[in-house]
């Protein structure tokens, strides 16, 4: 933009100059026509009356001598042109004053350019004129022309007088005074020095560099380059600027910025004095800091940058040798651990070696061998499990990790218009007595890749009894009310009797077996364990990573090894997560922004998989919030959300509108209980205002300020802020509670929550979601209207799918109409995986579904980013 403006200015100046030189008529065409004319008239009168020995350029030359003598008298009269302009010599500025007070950046860029001519006869006085030609090095060029003219012979067609006149003309510089239309001539011998406009810019650049105002200095250099490319001294100033700026950045402890300046300087002038040394200093500092932070990828990145500039720099050689040494040490350590039967330790060591120095000899082979034995998957996430940052509800990270770590008796396997389940533990389950009883047969075998124990009937029955015991912390009211008998028929068979035929036995038994009495291990021996139904368990945690290992490692003699460990890396936002993926820090991202779906799909290095469950964004109200009990206020909030625009502009940020859609329920729009005929509520600020006014009168004439919490997600937070702005327009003041504010009381006293849900069994999950409870307990329904309470109970106790679907649709209609929650939109969920990952399923229901069977081709980023 700056260059464009400068060029435009330059073009404008050029045109103006060309117009002035070609015809005075063009200048008269300006808007100051009459004023200029009057000025010229005054100057002409002055010339006639006062001037001595001078003449306007338009008149005939007065005293070019026939011979080649220098026209000194004429020169003197030309100098008196100052006087012709009605000014005495004393009015002219001194060069010292001008240099002391250089034009500012704004003046140089804004005002018409002028040159300063230091006239020899005026004792350091300066004549300020419009830009003269030729330039730069005007005097030298004029001298060169004179010499060239003298060296030529007179042409036959040329008279002596004409040649003499040409020779005399070569000794004069044509100048225009600012605001004067007349052209004047100045003898070259009268000119002591010419400080061009461009030189003035360079002088200002010098001053700005000394002031460490590098941005303005750079702006001025760009303007100069646009005005006069290759102006003498401009490149030097640019180099000096870069060097000084690098120095300043280094002093300000910004070595990476310093390196960037130095790299730029290196590209412009590799031999700049002190550049190589400074490069070494800066890079050394950067690499040391990165190594100290354990970020070898970054260290190698800086090393790579320096090597690209100066391959034989001592710093390059020093660190290359250091990294190679460390890498080889780790390779030895990895070999040792492998021999000791510690595949995890070996894998961790070899991964670190590959991170530190991927070019180490023999690394690729060793890495491939060890990582094939113990595949470690690195996944990028925005939030780690168990870190809700004060957010009062369960965060998606908790669900993701729960599905990674826990194996439930029945697990969600796929989803289309209903949920489909599978079980790792049951070989078969057979309903009898018209569904009032179900006989379960537990599997007695386990594949080598499976990381689950073999359960016995007693384990399941113990777990059931815990869940049916009201005094137990895992008491499940729904389960306890449904099951009326448990009968163990054999160590691997048991039968459940139901009080009422359950709609989905699988959903009812979708819980893990937390503890057991005994475990049958691989060798068939009995032992004890507290971590049943866990396929992965947390093995280590740092500030930004959590590692999860298999609870049942694959045996050494397994032919093919599957993912043995998952390491989740936290990134601050989606951009950094994408960078981590591209750099090779991680091999998968558990969730993608819609706008990243297409670019990554087109990248041949990755698979982009859509998950079966979309993410639904919902606004929900706190059961204890008095204000939001007002139906009018809830409706006002709903009408004041421009869902269509927010979805397109903030959430999707892509033209692919198919990735998200407006919805009217908190469960997927593809679910058979979703009623597609329910009309979407529109965006109507006026109606929202009217409803807010009605709510205000209901609430005693004053709308209380609402407090809102939102899920810790960058997109969700942005949307929440936008909604708050719109609500303020209709008179509803909402404050977003800072989840990380550390005030637990403030975090609990919220009225509205913005959350995302992935609901696959609304018949079972709608109740706890509405009551913000982890369990579907009747007590938690107390805040709901009686009709809604009874309809939820009726839905929960439905025994056939037709009736439950009808009840769900009816409930869907009423919940939306009564605005008990505000479903916003649903967005398709995607996971991206590097192509070295194999055997993952199509349309998984969660990012890690079936991870026990995933294979990983050993891979590492051989090149530093």
């Amino acid at each position: 933009m700056f260059v464009y403006q400068t060029t435009e200015t330059q073009q404008h100046g050029d045109k103006e100059r060309a117009g002035r030189e070609s015809s005075s008529t063009a200048r008269h065409a300006s808007t100051d026509l009459f004023r200029l004319f009057a000025l010229c008239l005054c100057i002409s009168v002055a010339l006639l009356n006062v001037a001595y020995g001078q003449f306007p350029a338009a008149e005939a030359p007065a005293a070019p001598a026939d011979d080649a003598d220098p026209p000194a008298a004429a020169d003197e009269s030309a100098v008196g042109g100052r006087k012709v302009a009605g000014q005495s010599d004393a009015d002219l500025p001194l060069i010292g004053d001008l240099l002391a007070e250089l034009p500012t950046l704004e003046e140089l860029l804004r005002d018409p350019p002028v040159d300063w001519i230091v006239v020899t006869t005026l004792k350091d006085r300066v004549l300020i004129v419009e830009p003269i030609n030729p330039r730069p090095n005007t005097l030298e060029k004029l001298q060169q022309r004179i010499e060239e003219f003298s060296a030529t012979r007179r042409k036959p067609t040329e008279t002596v007088e004409e040649r003499q006149q040409k020779f005399i003309d070569l000794h004069y510089v044509k100048v225009f005074l600012p605001g004067d239309e007349n052209e004047y001539k100045l003898h070259v011998e009268q000119i002591q020095e010419i400080i061009h406009h461009e030189d003035q810019m360079l002088l200002r650049v010098d001053a700005l560099i000394d002031e460490r105002n590098f941005n303005d200095a750079l702006q001025l250099i760009f303007a100069l380059n646009a005005l006069q490319p290759a102006w003498p001294g401009a490149a030097d100033r640019h180099h000096r600027l870069l060097y000084r700026e690098a120095e300043t950045k280094l002093e300000a402890d910004l070595p990476e910025a310093a390196l960037a300046r130095l790299a730029e300087l290196h590209a412009l002038r590799a031999g700049y004095p002190g550049l190589s040394k400074m490069l070494g200093t800066v890079t050394q500092q950067l690499i040391s800091a990165a190594v100290e932070a354990g970020d070898f990828l970054q260290a190698r990145h800086f090393l790579k940058r320096l090597r690209a500039l100066e391959p034989n720099h001592p710093v390059v050689n020093e660190w290359s040798a250091t990294f190679l040494s460390q890498g080889e040490t780790l390779m030895d350590e990895a070999r040792g651990k492998s021999l000791q039967g510690d595949p995890r330790g070996a894998a961790v060591a070899i991964e670190r070696a590959a991170l530190i120095w991927p070019a180490a000899p023999g690394l690729a082979q060793l890495h491939g061998r060890l990582m094939a034995r113990y595949p470690r998957l690195h996944a990028g996430v925005l939030q780690l499990a168990g870190e809700s940052d004060g957010y009062p509800l369960r965060v998606p990270a908790d669900d993701r990790v729960e599905r990674l770590t826990q194996v439930k008796l029945f697990e969600l396997d796929s989803f289309d218009d209903v949920a489909h389940y599978r079980s790792r533990f049951f070989e078969r389950w057979l309903p009898t007595d018209l569904g009032r009883r179900t006989m379960f047969r537990l599997t007695q075998h386990r594949a080598a890749w499976e990381s689950v124990p073999i359960l016995r009937s007693s384990d399941v029955v113990l777990s059931l009894s815990q869940r049916m015991n009201p005094s137990s912390p895992v008491y499940d009211d729904r389960l306890a009310a449904r099951i009326n008998s448990v009968r163990v028929r054999s160590p691997f068979e048991f039968e459940l009797g139901f009080q009422q035929v359950p709609l989905r036995t699988e959903a009812l038994l979708g819980f893990p077996v937390p503890t057991r009495l005994s475990v049958v291990d691989d060798a068939g021996a009995a032992g004890s364990s507290d971590s049943l139904s866990q396929r992965f368990v947390e093995a280590g945690r740092t500030d930004d990573t959590i590692a999860y290992c298999r609870t049942h490692p694959e045996p050494d003699n397994a032919g093919e090894f599957h993912v043995a460990e998952v390491v989740e890396h936290r990134y601050a936002n989606y951009d950094e997560a994408i960078q981590g993926l591209l750099r090779g820090e991680v091999s998968m991202l558990a969730r993608l922004r819609p706008r990243d779906v297409t670019p990554l799909s087109e990248d041949g290095r990755f698979f982009v998989q859509q998950t079966a469950l979309p993410v639904t964004h919902v606004l929900q109200f706190h059961p204890d919030s008095v204000a939001t009990r007002s139906r009018e206020l809830r409706r006002a909030l709903s009408y004041a959300v421009d869902r269509r625009t927010l979805l397109a502009d903030v959430v999707l940020q892509t033209s692919q509108s198919k990735l998200g859609r407006l919805v009217t329920a908190p469960f997927p729009s593809t679910h058979n209980g979703y009623d597609p005929l329910i009309e979407q509520r529109g965006y109507d600020l006026t109606l929202a205002y009217q409803l807010a006014a009605a709510a205000k009168s209901q609430l005693g004439g004053e709308l209380p300020e609402l407090h809102m919490v939102c899920e810790p997600d960058p997109v969700v937070e942005t949307v929440a802020k936008e909604m708050i702005k719109t609500w303020a327009r209709v008179g509803i003041q909402v404050t977003l509670i800072d989840s990380g504010g550390g005030d637990p009381q403030a975090e609990q006293n919220w009225d509205v929550v913005y959350r995302t849900v992935q609901m696959y069994e609304p018949v079972f999950q709608l109740w706890p979601m509405l009551t913000l409870d982890s369990q579907a307990t009747v007590d938690s329904l107390i805040h709901l209207p009686d009709w809604l309470r009874q309809e939820l109970i009726e839905l929960d106790s439905a025994s056939d799918s037709t009736r439950s679907r009808a009840l769900l649709r009816n409930l869907h209609r009423k919940l939306y109409a009564q605005v008990h929650l505000i479903p916003l939109w649903e967005v398709d969920d995607f996971v991206v995986l590097r192509k070295n990952i194999g055997s993952f399923g199509v349309r998984p229901v969660s990012p890690y579904q079936g991870i026990e069977r995933w294979t990983l081709q050993p891979w590492y980023a051989a090149q530093a980013p």
Partner: protein
């Protein structure tokens, strides 16, 4: 074997029956004494038993049915059974029986005509058996029980404690009381603990003589024989009685006995045999007012608080297998809801089995239970928490009304939207008219015309009201019918009030008045 003998005894005259019982008892005692050289002790034992049962048989003749109730002493049988603890020697058992006899005489004196038997209740071999005991079982196992009260007593040891459990059987109402348990660590005080349990389990019997305007006058059995210990008076003000109807056939035999549900008599005053009570009942005329039937006896039995809590189960009246989940039960501590100021209450919600746990009050007083479905009162009954382990209350079905309430909520929501939208269009139209933007005024007015009118809402109301009323009539649920009608009427008034088309018409006319006339271009 024992059952066969007992059934034979039922056909014998009383005197011979007593002798037979004595013989049976002797046989049982003989078995107990077998390890202790029976032959040595048997003559002495038979002599003691003979004396004992002779006195019991003689006492039977002291309680003729034709005596007034207050002059009739309680014919009491105390049956003692012992656990299998080897320390429960015959000597110890005899000592316990002797202690009970002594203390009961000292406490109740002539009020009780008491006899004591050991191991009469063969089916009771544990405390759990005592709890499982059913009235029918008692009648079938002991048809010979010609007593007013029988106390089945079970003595066992638990660790360092001796545990005595007692359950009372009332012959008049054929009801078993709760199990009362007392503990003592002292072996010699087992008899005392047993007597304390028996005293606690004892429920006085009364005859309801007169009922008038929520007050009842009763006569107390054996009131003419006050206990020697004044603290053991049968009744005191504040005690709670439960009423029973005893139907007799033409021969005067008891045909059936029915307890009056959700009806209690709270003792106000006791003057010898005359007891006055306040009647608290969930029924409109629980005791039939002043009219009495000849072959129906109105009885009352004291109610004891014997449990920590009572499990109240709510079921639907028309389908008692269907528990009512998520219904509110408000528990108010007061005697008569009509006469007392509102009291603080506890609110419970029935769980998935339709139950709530009612905690026993420290003072053991009566509370009122309000079963609510939203704002609708489904039932209002008195109850004494802790008097039963569980109790079931059937209430009318309210699902139809709730469904109507939900639909009306939707209708009301749409009504609010309509009112807001109308106000919005009229406001805009007024502003536009004031600015002479008549084209846009016409647009606003056209949009106003497009909004639903009053007939639309009335039609929707009809589609809610008619099917619901038909369903309520089909269920013969008059309460629901009435409430649905009331709800729909209220909604109809709201519609009339807020969607009145006349108001719209008036607004239109006001805007129309601002429109310039074609002839002069000025507003009218």
């Amino acid at each position: 074997m024992t059952h066969q003998s007992t059934s034979k005894q039922a056909t014998l005259p009383p005197a011979r029956r007593a002798n037979a019982m004595a013989a049976n008892s002797a046989r049982r005692w003989g078995r107990s004494f077998a390890p202790l050289r029976v032959t040595r002790w048997l003559p002495t034992l038979l002599w003691i038993l003979g004396c004992l049962f002779s006195s019991v048989a003689a006492a039977d003749t002291d309680s003729p049915d034709d005596l007034p109730l207050e002059s009739r002493r309680y014919q009491v049988l105390i049956s003692i059974s012992f656990g299998t603890d080897p320390t429960f020697t015959p000597r110890f058992q005899k000592q316990v029986a002797d202690d009970i006899r002594l203390i009961s005489d000292r406490t109740f004196y002539q009020m009780w005509n008491r006899r004591i038997e050991r191991n009469l209740a063969n089916s009771v071999t544990s405390q759990a058996d005592l709890r499982r005991l059913e009235p029918d079982t008692v009648l079938s196992d002991h048809p010979e029980l010609a007593v007013d009260k029988a106390f089945f007593t079970w003595v066992e040891s638990a660790g360092s404690q001796y545990v005595v459990s007692v359950r009372e059987w009332d012959a008049a109402t054929r009801r078993l009381g709760a199990v009362f348990t007392r503990h003592t660590p002292v072996r010699s005080r087992v008899g005392d603990a047993a007597m304390r349990a028996i005293s606690a389990a004892f429920r006085p019997l009364l005859s309801i003589e007169d009922v008038e305007e929520g007050a009842a006058t009763l006569r107390l059995q054996a009131a003419a024989f006050p206990p020697s210990d004044p603290a053991s008076a049968q009744l005191k003000p504040g005690d709670i009685l439960q009423a029973f109807l005893r139907y007799r056939d033409l021969d005067g035999a008891v045909a059936r006995i029915q307890s009056l549900p959700w009806t209690y008599l709270v003792v106000d005053n006791v003057e010898r045999e005359r007891v006055t009570c306040t009647v608290a009942s969930g029924l409109r005329a629980p005791l039939g007012g002043g009219r009495r039937q000849r072959r129906v006896d109105l009885l009352a039995l004291a109610t004891h608080v014997a449990y920590d809590s009572t499990r109240l189960e709510l079921v639907q009246r028309t389908n008692t297998s269907l528990p009512l989940v998520g219904h509110q039960v408000r528990v108010v501590s007061k005697l008569l809801p009509e006469r007392e100021a509102p009291q603080p209450s506890d609110l419970f919600v029935t769980d998935r089995r339709g139950t709530v746990q009612l905690r026993t009050r420290a003072d053991g007083k009566l509370v009122w239970l309000y079963v609510l479905s939203g704002d609708s009162l489904l039932a209002r009954v008195p109850y004494v928490p802790g008097s039963d382990p569980s109790v079931t209350l059937s209430v009318p079905d309210d699902s139809i009304r709730l469904s109507v309430e939900g639909e009306l909520e939707l209708l009301q929501g749409d009504l609010v939207d309509l009112v807001a939208a109308r106000a919005q269009h009229i406001l805009r139209a007024r502003h536009l008219a004031a600015d002479d933007h008549w084209d846009q005024v016409d647009v606003e007015m056209a949009e106003l015309e497009q909004l639903p009118d009053i007939s639309h809402f009335r039609q929707r109301l009809s589609t809610i009201r008619v099917p619901a009323l038909e369903a309520a009539r089909a269920d013969q649920n008059r309460l629901a019918e009435s409430r649905i009608g009331k709800l729909c009427d209220q909604m109809s008034q709201l519609i009339q009030r807020y969607v009145d088309d006349d108001k719209i018409q008036a607004a239109k006319e006001r805007i129309q008045e601002l429109r310039p006339r074609p002839e002069d271009g000025r507003p009218r």
